[in-house]
Every structure is written in C-alpha cells, then in structure tokens.
Symmetry: C2
Subunit: 224 residues, 2 copies
DNA sequence: CATTTGTCAATACAATTGTATATACACCCG
DNA sequence: CGGGTGTATATACAATTGTATTGACAAATG
C-alpha cells in the first residue's frame, strides 16, 4: 500500500529552481515501466534510477513506496488488471462469432499482440524477485486461469463437449501462452505472427486432448 | 630459497598472506550456483560476490571469464547439458517399460524431480539478461525440443499413431514442463508431487490432442 | 494570522560495485 | 642461473547504490 498523495491541483508549471508539482504513484510506475525496455527486470531497477526517470529526488520515492519491491508488486497488479481487462474486452468483441475452441485462442492472442508490455512484466517476474513479488504474479495468473476455466466450462456445456479436468486445461493454456508470449516481443513482426499461430495450434491441441480424454474416460472408467 | 615441487607444496595449508592454489572455471561456476539459492538470478550476481564465494580476489575473476555474463552463458550451457544427460539416462532406464505417451512424461518428470537446480537456472533466465544470455537458453531449449520430437515421432511410428505437427508438440511440452518445473522447487514435497501429476496430465492432453487432430485431418482435409 | 502537515530537494555518508595498476610467487624454457 | 609467462593478490579509485538528516515551500487547518 502506498502513501496517499494526490491532493489539490497545482497549476504552477514554472520550472523555478525551487519546487516541482507533486507526483503520484502512477507516474512513478510509468517511469519504472519506461526503464525496463529490453532485457531488464523490475527488481534490477534501482531506486535512484526510477527517481531519475520520474524527475524526482531520490528520497521523494519514499513518499510513494517503501521499496522498489513494493512498486514492483503494484506494477504487477496493474499489469494483471490491464491484461485481464483487455482480454475481457476482446472476448466481448468476439462473442458473436462462433468457432468453438478457436475463440479462446484468438482472444488470448489478440491481447498478446496488443500490448505485450504487460505480459512481459508478468512473465518476466514469474520466477524472480522477492516472495511477495512472485506471489503477486501467481495471484494474477490464477485470476486468468479462473476466468479461462469458467469460459471453457461454459463452452463445453453449451456444445455438449465435456472436458477432462478443465482447471488443468486452463492452467496449462495460461502458462503456455504466457511463456510463448514472453518470447514474442523481441521478434520481428512476421516471426511474431508465426509464433502466434504456433501457440494457437498448441492451445487447440490441449483442448482437443482434454475432450478426447473426457470421452475416453466416459467409455472406460480408469482402473484407478 | 629452495626449489620446491609444486605438487609437494600443494598440501601447505598455512594461511600465510602469500599464495593460493589455482582455481578452475568449474569452481567459479559452482560458487556462482551456490549463490543463487532462492530468488536470485544469475545476472543479479556481482563479480565481487562470486569471487568472495569462490575465495579468490575480485580481480582473479578475469582470469577465467571476461564478464559475469560469460560465466552465466557457460552456466546455462552446463545446465542444459546436464539436464539433457539426465533425461537421456532416465529414458534408457525406462525403455523397457511400455506405456505409450506416459513414458515421455515420466522421463521428463523424473529429471525434474532429480535436480531442479539445473532446470531452475534455465527457466529463470529464459526472459532475462543479455542477448547472448537468452540465446544460450533458447539454444538449450531447442536441443530439448529436438530430442523430444525425435522420440515422439519414433513412438508415433511404432504404435501407428500419427501426430499432428510433432515439432510443435515437442515445443509445447518443453515450454510447459520448464515453466511448471520452475515453480516447483520452492514447494513442499507433497505439493511438488501434485504439481508433477498435474504436469503429466497436461502433457498427456497435448499428446492426445495432437493424435486427435492428426486423425481428424486425415478424415477431412481442412477447408483451407 | 499562526500552525501543522505533506511533499519535495539538497547534502551527506557508508557500502558496494567494476576495474586499473602494480606486485608476488610458481612454473617453463633457454 | 636468468628471464618470460601465467595466475594469484593488494591497493586504489571513481561511480553508484540505499538511506538519514535537514530544510524549503504549499496547502490544509486552526
């Protein structure tokens, strides 16, 4: 939790040597995001570096976050929220279309293609940083799995295609898409396209497999 | 000063301010590995830190590697080789057993369970560090995919079960297993077991899906 | 008005970083 | 023996780090 700022509106823009208008946590987070272009991870950013990018004194950082880690967690939350929002939106837009399993894939892929920065942040810090850090990522991933699982079950029910362990299907798809997507942003646009197609095929394989296993399980209940 | 044989003088343990026996790159890499317990990534290690862990002077580091990044690449290569070796060994041991798709899963999982440190290194640096860095990881992952693809095709041929896009199947399985395995080492042993079972189911889904899609494709060639 | 409070900057400090330079051995070759 | 060559160390230095202290200024509050 950050210390609340954002008080009155300060229209004074004069760049006098003295004061600067207050800065919110949002600007700080944006500054941090602007830093992690390319290869860097959020936890590799230094407090002074972020402060520099945000044009504030190093110590002013503490007015908003206690740590860089705290900022990172906030950033992860924001990335997760943003990504989920984009996916929901894409899903609504594609709702009219039919296409069975294909829709889910396209939804994911479109969000992936749209703003890979969010996805990058999440997937980069999956296995990195402090504990609170990875817990935040895990939390966001779980949200994704939840929503995806709901949709998968809904579709399965509607089309009469039962799934084997839909929760696992959602988990597998989520992890796979995140992993694939993480390696997408430094690719050329056409290579990206290829990777997206590949990922779509993979996702379809998983879904087809779960259907097949569900059918088989119904025919002959496993010996254990 | 009397001339002393280097072998004979090697047992001199006196902590005189003088000399220390030479150190190989292997020891340095081991020291680096010992540092990245828990959350740290290889690229977050400092040269001095590694030197400290290896009991050498900071500058001696340069005798063996030009960078920390260079050490990291060497470490990635070693991890990949070690992991592939373990998998080959496990595969040989399981060759007699039958079990269709299950064998591949078990082989992967056994190697995962055996020494997750290697896997940790590889999966942690997938989307991190310098370019040469990630290229090294990518290279090792490709090796895995290659071997897995070969085995998958062999099995498919032997059992008369054709696969849809075996290369993609191998890629999906590899990425998925690495991702899942990366989040396994900080779990309790029983939670680990659960995760391994889950991963096995996921892998089976992929394989079943690829079989299903191959069969479907044969029946009715896609409309596009 | 005076006072408090919240947000910033400036300075400073100890720690740690990567690396440059110089030096002390141990060895190999002549 | 004497002189490279290679590997280690010690010292040093400039940069950069996180943070403590202090104070300036604006807005809110009395």
């Amino acid at each position: 939790m950050a210390i609340r700022s954002r008080k009155a509106s300060n229209t004074n823009d004069h760049e006098k040597p003295g004061r600067k208008p207050p800065i919110g946590e949002h600007e700080l987070m944006q500054a941090a995001v602007s830093l992690l272009d390319g290869n860097r991870s959020v936890s590799s950013l230094s407090l002074r570096e972020i402060a520099r990018a945000a044009n504030i004194a190093p110590n002013s950082f503490y007015r908003h976050f206690r740590d860089v880690d705290e900022l990172a967690v906030a950033l992860i939350d924001q990335a997760g929220r943003g990504l989920r929002g984009m996916i929901r939106e894409a899903r609504q837009r594609l709702e009219g279309k039919q296409g069975g399993v294909r829709t889910s894939v396209e939804v994911f892929m479109e969000a992936l293609d749209d703003d890979s920065r969010y996805l990058q942040i999440l997937s980069r810090e999956m296995s990195l940083g402090s504990d609170a850090f990875r817990e935040a990522v895990e939390r966001e991933l779980t949200y994704f799995e939840q929503e995806l699982c709901d949709e998968l079950m809904m579709r399965g029910e509607r089309f009469g295609l039962p799934m084997h362990e839909p929760a696992l299907v959602a988990k597998a798809i989520t992890r796979l898409v995140f992993t694939m997507g993480a390696s997408a942003d430094k690719l050329s646009p056409d290579a990206r396209k290829v990777l997206i197609d590949e990922t779509a095929i993979m996702v379809r394989m998983i879904i087809r497999g779960s259907h097949a296993m569900a059918g088989e399980q119904k025919q002959k209940p496993k010996k254990k």
